[in-house]
């Protein structure tokens, strides 16, 4: 039999974005820093974009944080709850957090609590250089996830 595709996690951190589009790499950068920190119970995934097969890992986790870059007025990372969408239809090659949560619910019968952590981003040109605001945001985002992971491990229900 083929092996199961995902490892159960107390907290799954999915960082997504294009690592060659400057600040768009914020999500992967946060996930990689979390991975390097080896937090107990925390599993990370890095992907250029969310896609349906991530639903299996999402369904197997006890909580999931989607980390993405976001252009806009925010100067600080924002952590907010994200709930499953009504529809689990993937309409393009890239899914979004609420669609993945819905897909986990519809296909695997279980969806964990989900959060979206957005990192402020200002430049999306070709290249690997980060803007100062995103560099600072990545560090703050890592702190937020670390706190959330500790709370999850301690049995807290909300961040």
């Amino acid at each position: 039999m083929p092996p199961p595709a995902a490892t159960p996690a107390a907290l799954l951190v999915i960082g997504y974005g294009n690592t060659l589009r400057q600040d768009d790499q914020a999500g992967p950068a946060v996930a990689e820093e979390i991975e390097a920190a080896s937090l107990p119970g925390v599993v990370t995934l890095v992907s250029p974009q969310l896609s349906p097969e991530h639903a299996e890992a999402v369904a197997q986790s006890r909580g999931v944080v989607f980390v993405d870059a976001q252009a806009g007025p925010d100067q600080e990372p924002r952590l907010r709850r994200v709930r499953p969408g009504e529809s689990s239809q993937v309409t393009t090659h890239a899914a979004e957090p609420r669609t993945l949560l819905a897909l986990a619910r519809d296909v695997y019968g279980r969806t964990p609590p989900g959060w979206l952590l957005t990192v402020p981003a200002v430049q999306f040109g070709f290249g690997t250089e980060l803007s100062p605001v995103t560099r600072r945001g990545i560090a703050r985002a890592v702190e937020k996830i670390s706190r959330l992971a500790r709370m999850k491990l301690a049995g807290a229900r909300r961040p």
């Binding site: 595709a5 294009n18 060659l20 299996e56 993937v90 090659h93």
Partner: protein, 474 residues
């Protein structure tokens, strides 16, 4: 009064990719334009870098078909070095490309397209989703995810990563297939075959009740282009270019990919940076060609594996000459999955794949190198010009979505001509135009990831710029 309908999918980074449907004075649809993101920025960004870095850089163009860029880039590097890569390296690259075809086609069929035709074009959007799919076709959605994972497993087994493996290099590949990896793939194959056969059976039943869609969804004469083997067989990573017309006549054959500029021209559309390739000898109007699964199955005589060859025979029965309906891209995609699985099974018993002779080494022996490979959506060209130090002076990438651009225009126009009812944009028309585009599985997310679900903004605009009607689908 002439009018224009605009369907405007908004993404965060690339800006706009949109569909404009033109309406003539009599209120009839006269044409359409589908604009997608272009890659000139990426090409510029790569100038000045060593060509050896390109297999590491160019896969970042896309999160869905990175392997296609990886392999085309490595092949362009082979040409700059002017080497023949080891037999084992060629077979291993092919194995990875087969995994890529499986995973990408599975996403297109099971997740993007099947809910539409299995649940009905006019069913409420809330039901035309995977939940609805599960309710009506138990286990199919889950099996579709598993099939995609199988293709990605092959990529990971070979390249150590599911996405963006830094594995193929100019001159060959970095590592062979491990015995453990081969067994992992072998153990999964029966399930992958079973899922594919189920999907094929299901789609054939769909075809029997969807003749209207077969007639209307991009059913028009055009040319078809792709790679074929020397004997005319199905090819996905080697061979030469073949062009076929809709009567089934081969109009150009065995054109070496390095000579692609002798048969492919690029036209420019207003309001779009994207160039639209066409068959050069016939010009941009008559030289429209399609690439991808439909084209590959049209131009090949056989696939070299028994189950897929039986399906190919059935597929060809849908055409008088070539199969011209883009709705049959779905069928072609499933047949290619089946062929890929059969070829993967065959490769697992090939001792070459475990060889350690994997890489040819050489300096810069040619200042230009072209690599071509069949990506899931069609033929992909990487064309590099370097200086004596191997630094890139010029990069030209021709991707499948661009090559299908003119055909997508015609598909949208054909659907709109049938379903447009005056200036009002109906749900029925929107659903069908969306699906017409999905037949080609265009890669709108290339270069970056989309910001969530793509919003659709449909506008009907008068010549003076007034918006007569607007529908937004978030």
């Amino acid at each position: 009064m002439s009018q224009r309908i605009v369907i405007d999918p908004v993404t965060r980074i690339e800006g706009h990719a949109k569909i404009s449907v033109f309406v003539d004075d009599a209120g009839n649809v006269s044409g359409a334009e589908f604009h997608v993101v272009e890659f000139r920025g990426f090409e510029k960004f790569c100038e000045g870098r060593p060509y050896t870095e390109m297999p590491g850089i160019t896969p970042r163009i896309c999160g869905i078909c990175p392997v296609s860029h990886l392999l085309a880039s490595a092949k362009a590097g082979d040409a700059i070095m002017a080497v023949n890569i080891p037999v084992a390296a060629d077979k291993l690259r092919r194995l990875m490309n087969l995994g890529q075809l499986v995973q990408s086609h599975a996403l297109s069929f099971f997740h993007l397209s099947a809910p539409d035709f299995l649940l009905g074009w006019d069913s409420p959007a809330a039901q035309r989703n995977v939940f609805g799919l599960i309710a009506n076709h138990a286990d199919l959605a889950r099996a579709g995810i598993r099939l995609r994972q199988f293709g990605q497993e092959i990529i990971e087994v070979l390249g150590a990563r599911k996405i963006h493996p830094a594995w193929a290099v100019p001159g060959g590949v970095r590592s062979p297939l491990s015995k453990e990896g081969a067994e992992k793939i072998r153990a999964w194959l029966p399930e992958a075959f079973a899922t594919t056969r189920t999907a094929l059976d299901l789609f054939k039943r769909v075809l029997s009740t969807h003749q209207h869609e077969v007639q209307l969804y991009g059913n028009f004469p055009s040319l078809f282009m792709g790679l074929v083997a020397a004997d005319g067989g199905w090819e996905h990573h080697g061979g030469n270019l073949r062009f076929m017309d809709s009567s089934g006549s081969i109009i150009a054959d065995q054109i070496a990919p390095k000579d692609y500029l002798s048969v492919i021209g690029e036209s420019v559309q207003d309001n779009s940076y994207l160039k639209s390739p066409y068959y050069l000898p016939l010009g941009s109007t008559d030289g429209v060609y399609r690439v991808g699964p439909l084209a590959r199955l049209n131009i090949c005589t056989h696939m070299g594996v028994s189950q897929a060859d039986a399906e190919l025979k059935n597929f060809k029965s849908f055409g008088h000459g070539a199969v011209t309906s883009s709705f049959l891209y779905h069928y072609a995609r499933l047949i290619e999955i089946l062929a890929s699985l059969e070829w993967i099974e065959r490769y697992l018993d090939d001792a070459d794949l475990f060889s350690q002779d994997l890489r040819a080494d050489a300096g810069i022996n040619s200042l230009r190198g072209v690599g071509a490979s069949e990506a899931p959506r069609g033929t992909l060209f990487h064309d590099y010009t370097v200086d004596r130090n191997g630094l890139l002076q010029k990069v030209n990438l021709i991707v499948a979505t661009g090559q299908n651009n003119l055909a997508m225009n015609r598909t949208v126009a054909q659907i709109a001509q049938h379903f447009a009812r005056g200036p009002e944009i109906t749900e029925a028309m929107l659903n069908r135009i969306e699906h017409g585009i999905r037949c080609y599985d265009p890669c709108l997310s290339c270069s970056t990831h989309a910001a969530g679900r793509m919003a659709l903004l449909v506008r009907m605009i008068a010549p003076d710029g007034r918006v007569l009607h607007e529908v937004r689908r978030d």
